[in-house]
């Protein structure tokens, strides 16, 4: 994966670098070209102004008079008056912008045959070597201004190239050229800047470019010569040349197209070293940036993936743990459920198993009671034993019920149950008991109070509470049974005089087989409250001990009303 990414990145970098290099190369090229264009524009302007100056000079009447009125001896003297300021003045040499001055170095007139009219006082017209002067001659006088170039000796070691402007002098009588004024101007002082370009002139099979060393010049000269002899007037694109170990581009362009003078070419040499250096630097920069980006990318992706991996890993671990826990929990649950079921089944089975012997026992005892030949004491004893069997049966039933409640197999069918009736029935049952307590029962239950429950179980609950109220009562005590509405539930309170239940035991009394510090004399087996609470909970309510102090013990059982009572806020 990493390899793929790296490969793609390198590929992209290469393309980008190539594009950028191409762009840079083109930018360099256009920089060269624009610089060249600028130079040419400046030179063009200068040239145009020089030409205009020459044209103005040759219109002078005295020059025409000298040429037309058979007074050639007056030609140069008259010209001297007019063209005197044309010649370069030594006084202007050192001034600023001297190199921009348009003063001529010399001037000459041609006769109608194109030969140079010799000047009398050469100093006044600028000194020239004879062979230089010969180059001014023309085979015929031109009709239009011509531009030419002349390589002559000068103070510089390689001489100088002057720009010749030949302006025809047309007869004011015939309109034909009768002479020409040739003025030689110093080369433009404009120098290329910035790009390190060097420029020179190719003239007469030689290259005038003092800025270059001899070998470089020779090499470039050979290139230019070859290109020019290939009959091109200009090089549209640079010709690559290796000079002094570095690459250069060579441009050339004809300086005086269409001129009667010999052709001269401007040669521009552009060192590519700068461009190459920049390109190389660009390449390095691009590579560096690319590598940096790649490194950053890799680091970032590693970091992100690490960060993502950790929670994922944790998640995986946790899920594993959870899975294990879950499995364990499921196992435990199953075990518990199995256990419960076993227990329930056990209770049920046990109860069922117990019922039979108890029935047999009771039947046997009843039979014994029915005998006439037993002594009273035996009959009393038998009576107690029968009572005990009823007790066993009761326990068995309770156990069975509890087992069934525990196993969750009890689905009560909740119907409206007349609580008042149930209470009345239970209170009536109290009176049937062997009542040596002489208790007073107070009822505060509205008639026809309907709750939602199962009749049998409701009976059991109330029976249990009422029996306890009776069982644990004090001599001459009271029992008070009341109902009220609270939070949309029906609350049944059963209170009685009793020994107080210690607070520590308040919760324990609801446990199975709990009998507190009650003696065996008190009938009961400790399942009642447990069953009652379970049944109350089954009905969607709750059974609570709300008060047990020195005087009064009160239990509260809540039931769902059969018709929902609007909650009084």
């Amino acid at each position: 994966m990493v390899v793929v990414v790296v490969a793609i990145t390198i590929g992209g970098l290469t393309i980008a670098e190539r594009t950028v290099s191409g762009e840079a190369r083109r930018a360099f090229q256009s920089a060269f070209e624009s610089e060249l264009a600028l130079l040419r524009a400046v030179r063009g302007i200068r040239h145009a102004s020089l030409e205009e100056r020459c044209r103005a000079l040759v219109r002078k009447p005295r020059i025409h008079a000298a040429l037309e009125d058979n007074a050639l001896d007056m030609l140069y003297p008259s010209a001297g008056d007019e063209l005197g300021d044309v010649l370069a003045d030594r006084s202007t040499a050192g001034q600023p912008f001297a190199r921009h001055s348009i003063h001529a170095k010399f001037y000459r007139f041609l006769d109608p045959e194109g030969a140079v009219i010799p000047a009398g006082k050469v100093a006044a017209v600028g000194a020239m070597e004879p062979d230089e002067e010969k180059q001014l001659t023309a085979s015929k006088l031109p009709h239009e201004q011509q531009t030419g170039y002349l390589w002559r000796k000068s103070d510089a070691p390689d001489g100088e190239v002057v720009e010749l402007i030949s302006t025809p002098i047309l007869s004011s009588e015939t309109g034909e050229p009768i002479s020409a004024l040739i003025a030689g101007f110093p080369p433009s002082g404009e120098k290329a800047g910035g790009t390190g370009m060097e420029s020179g002139i190719w003239l007469g099979e030689r290259l005038h470019m003092p800025a270059l060393a001899g070998t470089a010049r020779a090499a470039i000269g050979a290139v230019v010569s070859r290109a020019i002899s290939g009959s091109t007037e200009a090089a549209a694109e640079g010709i690559p040349v290796r000079v002094g170990g570095t690459e250069h581009f060579v441009f050339f362009e004809r300086l005086n197209p269409g001129s009667l003078f010999p052709p001269a070419y401007e040669v521009g040499v552009y060192p590519l070293a700068g461009m190459h250096a920049r390109l190389l630097r660009l390449r390095w920069q691009a590579s560096g940036v690319g590598l940096l980006l790649l490194g950053l990318g890799i680091a970032a992706s590693s970091y992100i993936s690490a960060r993502l991996a950790k929670p994922v890993r944790e998640l995986a671990e946790v899920s594993e743990e959870n899975r294990v826990l879950r499995v364990r929990a499921e196992g435990a649950l199953e075990f518990t459920s199995n256990e419960l079921e076993r227990t329930a089944r056990f209770s049920a089975d046990a109860s069922h198993q117990l019922k039979t012997p108890v029935t047999v026992l009771r039947a046997g005892l009843d039979e014994l009671l029915a005998r006439n030949d037993l002594p009273m004491s035996a009959r009393d004893e038998l009576g107690l034993l029968v009572h005990q069997t009823y007790r066993i049966t009761s326990i068995i039933q309770d156990l069975l019920l509890l087992a069934r409640l525990d196993s969750g197999r009890v689905q009560p069918e909740l119907v409206p149950v007349d609580l008042t009736h149930v209470v009345d029935t239970c209170v009536d049952d109290l009176h049937l008991l062997n009542d040596s307590m002489d208790l007073e029962v107070e009822l505060d239950v509205p008639s026809g109070l309907l709750i939602s429950g199962e009749k049998r179980y409701t009976m059991l609950i109330v029976q249990n509470l009422v029996e306890n109220a009776h069982k644990y009562n004090l001599p001459n005590g009271h029992i008070r049974i009341a109902t009220r509405e609270e939070n949309g539930m029906v609350v049944l309170t059963v209170g009685n005089h009793a020994h107080p239940i210690p607070p520590a035991s308040w919760e324990h009394i609801f446990e199975r087989f709990h009998r507190a510090a009650v003696g065996e004399n008190v009938p009961g087996h400790g399942l009642g409250l447990n069953v009652a609470r379970e049944l109350t909970r089954l009905h969607g309510g709750e059974l609570r001990l709300v008060r047990s102090d020195e005087e009064w013990t009160e239990f509260e059982a809540t039931f769902r009303p059969a018709n929902p009572i609007p909650v009084v806020a």
Partner: protein, 212 residues
């Protein structure tokens, strides 16, 4: 009787002596203008193929020979007005002084490089006094120019003879008061063309000479 004869002879002689001045009449064939003049119609010197001639064309016919020096010569004038010379071609006797008054608002600078007379009057306006002048003391054709107005042109034909005349625009001329003897009669037609004829002048003769 003698008196009558004397008077008659005297009369005849005087008639004869009156007829003793030779006259040459004739006509010069003036070159037809084949091409339109190059110079503007404002100026009167025309150039056709490098040859200057006045326009409208006329010629100068003169008797070439040795003549006595004049006692005095009149002063002539060539006026500059409307940026032209008022005379296109002025024939005059050698030694004539010519004034060049400037009637223009601008300055003029009359000069000539002609070998017959090189002079430069300098720049002057109409206010210049004395009026710049030049004496033409060599025979020949003098081309006058103005250094300021390059198209201003005039010709001065300096002749060594008192006997010269301009032809009319048809080329006709009439020279009178000519001495008798052998002379050359010349017709100056343009700056490059002067035709000559040898003439034998008898006193009182009336010749007719046509050029060519």
């Amino acid at each position: 009787m003698n008196v009558l004869r004397t008077v008659a002879i005297f009369l005849a002689a005087s008639c004869l002596s009156a007829l003793a001045d030779t006259v040459i009449e004739g006509r010069v064939e003036l070159p037809k203008s084949r091409h339109s003049p190059i110079a503007s119609k404002r100026y009167e010197i025309v150039s056709k193929g490098g040859v200057l001639a006045p326009y409208p064309a006329f010629a100068v016919v003169y008797l070439d020979g040795n003549f006595a020096k004049p006692a005095s010569l009149p002063v002539l004038q060539i006026v500059q007005k409307n940026l032209t010379f008022d005379t296109a071609l002025l024939p005059l006797r050698t030694g004539t002084k010519v004034e060049f008054p400037n009637f223009d608002d601008t300055a003029h600078n009359i000069f000539s490089f002609s070998p017959a007379k090189r002079f430069d009057l300098g720049r002057y306006t109409s206010a210049e006094r004395p009026i710049p002048s030049q004496t033409f003391d060599k025979p020949g054709l003098v081309t006058l120019r103005c250094d300021i107005h390059e198209h201003m042109r005039a010709l001065v034909l300096v002749l060594d003879t008192p006997h010269f005349v301009r032809t009319d625009n048809d080329g006709r001329f009439r020279l009178t008061g000519l001495p008798s003897g052998s002379y050359k009669l010349k017709a100056w037609i343009d700056s490059k063309t002067t035709i000559e004829r040898a003439v034998e002048l008898k006193p009182g003769a009336a010749l007719r000479v046509d050029f060519p």
